[in-house]
């Protein structure tokens, strides 16, 4: 912990540990197996390492990149042991994450000075957008921020109701026009109301859409343009929500949504299952988009601010 203690307070670390316990256990027990009874890194260990990374959804390219880096280090230092392998692996992955995640958030907060701070939440169907918004609203509210939600998912059956329930539960207002209304006009009204009532944060829910549907992707562009009519710097954040159990398709999602709306942040959900979340590394490696939030459970407190060092640390104990 020592090194990371200053960045990450203890209770938060424990919670992240709990949520990621499964991840860690899997990765660690596999890694343990990979190097069991060996004093130096040989080809077999590297092969096993490949399996560990690939089965964690890290992806072929990224895995090869990591392994190559390790091979180079092994070539340089012939007497590389298990402990060192552990440390080097951690370093290599952290490096991939760090390249693009220069400034981790310290807590749930939005930059001061920008009011209202508009967050547009996008993603494919079923990744947990609405749930993430509910939890995010609760977190911001607990920080003393005035939050307003916009129900611009007017497509999926009962999506508006679902967001309204979250609004009631958390105690924040929800702007809604009902089902099958124009999402852009809902977004516009939400931002308008937020300005009038001097809200601090606006979070706009959108319908889940597969990134291959051109028209729906264009609709996101429209929502963005309409919001800008009112607050020309908005949206200040476009949050792409990814399902942690998704495989390599998450990379395509990141690519296509970035094309359509210039995604500025990622949230990875459902990391409390057996999914390893290795996809985070792959995406972080390929795109210059920081991971901001991770979801590690059902509870309100299970949405957390992503901290790459703690994340990597949780992987390797």
């Amino acid at each position: 912990m020592g090194l990371f203690g200053g960045i990450f307070s203890k209770d938060k670390k424990e919670h992240l540990d709990k949520g990621l316990a499964k991840t860690k256990e899997n990765f660690f027990s596999k890694l343990g197996k990979a190097v069991a009874g060996k004093s130096t890194v040989d080809d077999e260990v590297l092969d096993n390492l490949e399996e560990v990374l690939v089965t964690s959804d890290v992806g072929v390219e990224t895995t090869l990149k990591i392994i190559e880096a390790i091979e180079q280090r092994v070539a340089r230092d012939k007497y590389l042991g298990v402990d060192e392998l552990n440390r080097i692996l951690r370093e290599e992955i952290a490096a991939l994450l760090s390249e693009n995640n220069s400034g981790d958030l310290e807590d749930f907060d939005v930059p001061s000075g920008t009011r209202p701070y508009v967050i547009l939440v996008v993603g494919v169907n079923g990744v947990g957008k609405t749930t993430t918004i509910g939890k995010l609203a609760a977190r911001f509210k607990a920080k003393g921020l005035q939050v307003m939600l916009g129900a611009a998912d007017t497509f999926r059956a009962a999506a508006v109701d679902q967001l309204k329930r979250w609004g009631e539960r958390v105690g924040v207002p929800v702007v809604a026009h009902g089902m099958h209304t124009d999402p852009a006009s809902v977004a516009f009204d939400t931002v308008k109301k937020a300005v009038e009532q001097q809200a601090d944060v606006v979070i706009i829910d959108t319908a889940g859409r597969l990134h291959t549907k051109v028209n729906l992707m264009n609709e996101l562009g429209k929502i963005k343009r309409v919001i800008q009519k009112f607050v020309d710097t908005a949206p200040h954040e476009v949050l792409l929500v990814l399902d942690g159990s998704t495989g390599q398709n998450a990379v395509n999602q990141a690519r296509e949504f970035t094309k359509a709306t210039e995604v500025t942040a990622l949230a990875i959900t459902k990391l409390d299952g057996t999914a390893k979340g290795g996809v985070v590394i792959g995406i972080s490696d390929e795109f210059k988009i920081p991971v901001k939030y991770i979801g590690v459970g059902e509870g309100l407190e299970d949405l957390q601010v992503f901290n790459k060092m703690a994340f990597v640390d949780s992987f390797f104990g």
Partner: protein, 442 residues
């Protein structure tokens, strides 16, 4: 849907093309490429290894015939292997009991509720009386979602919003279904993680209490390596009868489906794509394997064509093509036929060799709009005789259709090329029959 995989396998197999026979050396690189492609398609690491080992064995064991290139031979072997992996033939659903209960299970966000609606609509279309039961008592508005879907497809939904006991609700739903003489009851349940002991116990209890005639495990086609673990755990607890693959309309490679099939040895029964209630299909392993290999899903294409193509119309068109009288009216009616068949991009993916092309272009049904507008802005005379389109006519058409003269010109050029191509095809006897078959649908 499996485009990316076929592109990669194509590339892998290309290495073999032009070589006389399969040797240890030339098959090794190809097999490695195939494995990499499978893993990138989210096929489980171990499964991919098994498959490629088998492919290598098969490839080395076989005599290379003079008539077949090693690449073709390997394609055939991979095709066979993937088909076998996915279960060879289509497995139908069993509906026994009064009412026959179908229990729907899966992770959060896998698409259970939407699938429940689609299944209900499909069964209703087969003349069965269906009822839906809302047993997701956790997610806010889950009951509402099912109710809205039920209204859309005109199927009764049983729900008890105040009741927090899923088993009890489901039991009451059975009684209700019996009372209303419903033959099938589809029970939608809450999403749950495989490691959530309490929730897994709940679904196990549901199965125990309901004794469903069919238990389905719904899985997102985009799921990664973890699909195998999840499916294993659900299968251990539920011993489900079949798998449903959802969201197959994206660019997902769907490798997880292959792994699940192999690891739990349960058939994939349905595939579902899109948000419309009619977007549900039976799963056909042989067709899917062909798609994976970029050999195209010609069978599905022909079936779709048969469903939608007006045979009279096709015969008329065919005659016109042969006489080289194909005009813009025919072109327009052809566009409409194609649109009726569904998403253009999906259709293109089914044509052999087109999967790669379809992947790279932005194409949807709206792409036809400007073309239609241009043609519809023409007079009947112009449509029948495109050759009379001079500068001022083109200007008028551009204004009328809200396009530019350049766009009109480029359409006319394309149309001209198309006619030329048809002329050439007419000259080549064999091709004519091929085209006639495709257009006639049989």
């Amino acid at each position: 849907m499996f485009d990316s995989l076929s592109v990669r396998l194509d590339k892998a197999i290309k290495n073999l093309k032009g070589q006389g026979r399969i040797t240890e050396i030339n098959v090794a690189t190809t097999v490695k490429e195939i494995r990499k492609a499978l893993i990138e398609a989210d096929v489980n690491y171990k499964v991919a290894k098994q498959v490629t080992d088998k492919i290598r064995e098969e490839a080395l064991g076989r005599d290379v015939l003079v008539a077949v290139s090693p690449g073709q031979l390997l394609t055939k072997i991979v095709d066979e292997e993937l088909t076998r992996l996915m279960g060879s033939t289509h497995a139908p659903m069993e509906l026994k009991g009064d009412p026959a209960v179908v229990l729907i299970s899966g992770l959060q966000g896998s698409g259970k509720t939407t699938f429940s609606g689609k299944l209900a609509k499909m069964l209703k279309g087969q003349g069965k009386s269906v009822m839906l039961a809302a047993c997701d008592i956790y997610r806010p508005a889950a009951i509402d979602q099912l109710r809205v879907l039920g209204e859309q497809i005109d199927v009764a939904v049983y729900a008890e919003p105040e009741n927090k006991d899923a088993v009890q609700i489901a039991k009451n739903a059975i009684k209700q279904a019996k009372a209303h003489n419903k033959k099938v009851l589809i029970v939608d349940t809450a999403g749950r993680l495989a490691i959530d002991e309490e929730m897994m116990q709940e679904i196990a209890n549901l199965k125990q209490a309901l004794q469903p005639s069919e238990t389905l495990f719904v899985v997102d086609a985009m799921t990664g390596q973890d699909a195998v673990n999840t499916a294993k755990t659900f299968n251990e607890r539920l011993n489900f009868d079949g798998v449903v693959l959802t969201k197959l309309d994206g660019d997902t490679r769907g490798g997880a489906a292959l792994s699940i099939r192999m690891v739990v040895d349960k058939p994939i029964k349905f595939v579902s794509s899109g948000e419309k209630m009619e977007d549900i299909d039976l799963f056909h392993p042989d067709r899917m394997a062909s798609r994976i290999l970029g050999m195209g899903d010609v069978v599905s294409l022909v079936e779709k064509a048969q469903q939608t193509f007006d045979e009279e119309e096709a015969r008329r068109l065919n005659k016109k093509i042969r006489k080289n009288e194909f005009d813009l009216n025919d072109f327009l009616s052809q566009l409409e036929q194609i649109k009726k068949m569904g998403n253009v991009k999906d259709l293109m993916g089914m044509i052999p060799g087109m999967g790669k092309v379809a992947k790279d272009i932005d194409l949807d049904n709206d792409s036809f709009k400007p073309i239609e507008a241009i043609i519809k802005s023409m007079t009947p005379k112009e449509r029948a005789n495109p050759d009379i389109l001079n500068g001022s006519r083109r200007k008028r058409i551009a204004r009328g259709s809200g396009t530019t003269v350049q766009e009109v010109n480029s359409l006319m050029k394309q149309f001209g090329d198309m006619r030329k191509m048809m002329k050439t095809m007419n000259k080549m006897g064999g091709m004519k029959r091929g085209l006639a078959n495709l257009m006639g649908g049989r």
